[in-house]
Symmetry: C2
Subunit: 214 residues, 2 copies
DNA sequence: GTCTATATACAGATAGAC
DNA sequence: GTCTATCTGTATATAGAC
């Protein structure tokens, strides 16, 4: 790996974990085993280094909606939720960083935040579309309000992420909560099966009266 | 207002919006119309100024659970949700700051974050207790899992907050989402009335029937 | 391309006049 | 109490040798 690449990778990592101001060129230089001067030879200023380095963890922030082909609406929702969660878990340090920039309103990363904001909207729109389709196909309950419920699902997911940050929980506990969330979402969205287990709960029966076929 | 007070207020505001490192004593001094030396005469170091200034917006972070007296379990949940949301809306800039510290893991505000973490746990515990009681009293559906559902509700609330930050939405849109969330929570928790009006919206009536005495 | 040496600016903190 | 002047460290950035 060339020195330039090494610098970029190191900078992306340090900026992500410590933020712009808290990361000095000296730190980057030490961690990348180069001199400060070399960094400024490639990138003319700290700010430029920052911008270019951001592309490193901005590129993978793309949505691939091909993978939803052939799944039922409820499976699609389930998959979108899991994927979102997995994505955050996998890119934890950079997501944390972006959140930090959002919170601070740092002017150095306006473009970054805007990009993420856009991805966020796309994701939510995708969810809403699926909810809408599932609703018209009567796979989902008619009370579903696509836009609002999509926003709520996204909010809950973001909240689970924040919860994990605040509580400093390990992934295990958070996973359990996600499973519980998946369950809750299914119960809220999906039309109950024609032969519900009536033994205990009365709600499903109630709703089953207004349930047409697939 | 004395110079000391002026410094404290200015510092609290600047630290809250820009963070510890990004706020210099010179800035504080300029904004408070005093000299740097005076700041260090009152508070011996920048860090100490930071700590003392934090108390300014840490004090109001208390939970008053007396106000829940005389409400039904479902009303209690509703109130807790609204209060949490209102609190965040009201203390937006300091909550943003705390979130920023959590995200960054800043060692200068360990105590602050720990305090908030504790309040968060108490709030969640309170919610869980109410859910538990409502469940045994059959005001809530038996599928309710107090701990998990409380955590989920908190997560959704935090998520709504983050959503608002990311989307830079005005309070109006966020309010609508909160109302939709309240509705969703009620539908999930509350036992349906024995004679639900299935025609369109059954919920408000629903709640009025099952409201027992104190 | 990569380095050392250095310029320049600004941070937090101290000394001491008033 | 409040100030000006100054010290010291560290940050970004430049100059120039190799």
């Amino acid at each position: 790996m060339g020195a330039r690449e090494k610098i970029l990778e190191t900078a992306a990592h340090l900026f992500s974990t410590s933020g712009y101001r808290a990361t000095s060129l000296a730190q980057v230089a030490r961690a990348a085993h180069v001199s400060k001067a070399l960094i400024l030879w490639y990138f003319n200023s700290k700010e430029q280094l920052f911008r270019v380095a951001l592309q490193h963890f901005l590129t993978p922030y793309e949505i691939d909606d091909q993978v939803l082909m052939g799944l039922s609406e409820s499976e699609q929702v389930e998959k979108l939720i899991n994927d979102y969660y997995d994505f955050i878990a996998e890119h934890l340090y950079s997501v944390k960083f972006v959140l930090g920039q959002v919170v601070r309103g740092d002017e150095n990363s306006q473009e970054l935040v805007e990009h993420v904001r856009e991805l966020y909207r796309v994701y939510r729109g995708l969810l809403a579309t699926i909810l809408e389709r599932g609703k018209t196909r009567c796979v989902f309950v008619p009370q579903v309000r696509p836009t609002e419920d999509a926003a709520l699902i996204m909010a809950a997911l973001n909240g689970l992420f924040v919860q994990r940050l605040v509580e400093q929980e390990n992934n295990g506990v958070a996973r359990e909560l996600l499973d519980h969330f998946q369950l809750t979402v299914r119960e809220r969205l999906c039309t109950p099966s024609p032969h519900p287990d009536v033994s205990f709960l009365s709600l499903p029966e109630l709703l089953s009266t207004q349930r047409p076929r697939r």
